[in-house]
Symmetry: C2
């Protein structure tokens, strides 16, 4: 069981932005390098998080990425729920689709279990993720992804 | 968020075997065709489920696959827990690994959320998955994966 890479990248970014110092505006490129993810993945995550109102993108010289107040207060559950969406947890509609899909009881059971997964993450806020010792690791990240 | 294909195939097989009629012994090849999965995937799932004591494989003429009593009584949670294992839900140790992994609080939160996911499936038994109307769909599956 894995989260999508998209959710993974999004959460890494939110965590890093949550510890940004006053006036520290990371660019998408810098954040990608720091968090060891491809630039194109990071750019998509930035666009999605901005759409969700969690990240603000300031353009121009001295521009960069900022976690919004909503982003800071958000629960991890809310972010994961929104980004992962409600697709099937198994290959019900893959090609070829599962022959059981018309009357499968597992499908509903899996959806309910995912709800329990999200509910558990609803208790976790972005702020709580970046308290020490995580904060120190996040703050000192360099652009090559190594600690300073 | 997706289960691995391996778990998906394993659960399809367990469900189909749970409705097998008296003396009906499916072969791995027949089960693969019925459930629309590649033969090699099905063969691996059979081996794993046999190892777990959930499926019995009878060799020789008239041989085939049987759900054991333990398989019938098993919860979906127990099966998924065993097959999915306890690897990370995000790319913590991928190549390149996540630079946050040393002090990441998300990792623990995700592991706890997965435990809630499994616990939800602990309430679901294999038997309950194959009660009507799922039973009818399962029973009439043909080898091309279509209903009869």
């Amino acid at each position: 069981m894995r989260l999508t890479a998209f959710t993974d990248v999004s959460l890494r970014l939110v965590m890093r932005l949550a510890v940004a110092g006053e006036g520290e505006l990371l660019t998408t490129r810098t954040a990608a390098a720091m968090l060891a993810v491809p630039y194109t993945h990071m750019a998509k995550a930035v666009a999605r998080l901005a759409e969700m109102g969690l990240v603000e993108t300031r353009r121009g010289r001295g521009g960069g990425l900022l976690l919004t107040e909503a982003g800071r207060r958000s629960s991890v559950g809310a972010i994961v729920r929104e980004i992962e969406g409600s697709g099937d947890l198994a290959g019900c509609e893959d090609d070829p689709p599962c022959p059981l899909r018309a009357a499968c009881r597992l499908r509903g059971a899996l959806a309910q279990a995912r709800e329990a997964f999200y509910a558990s993450l609803d208790e976790v806020t972005v702020e709580s993720l970046v308290s020490p010792p995580a904060r120190q690791v996040l703050v000192v990240l360099r652009e090559d992804g190594s600690p300073a």
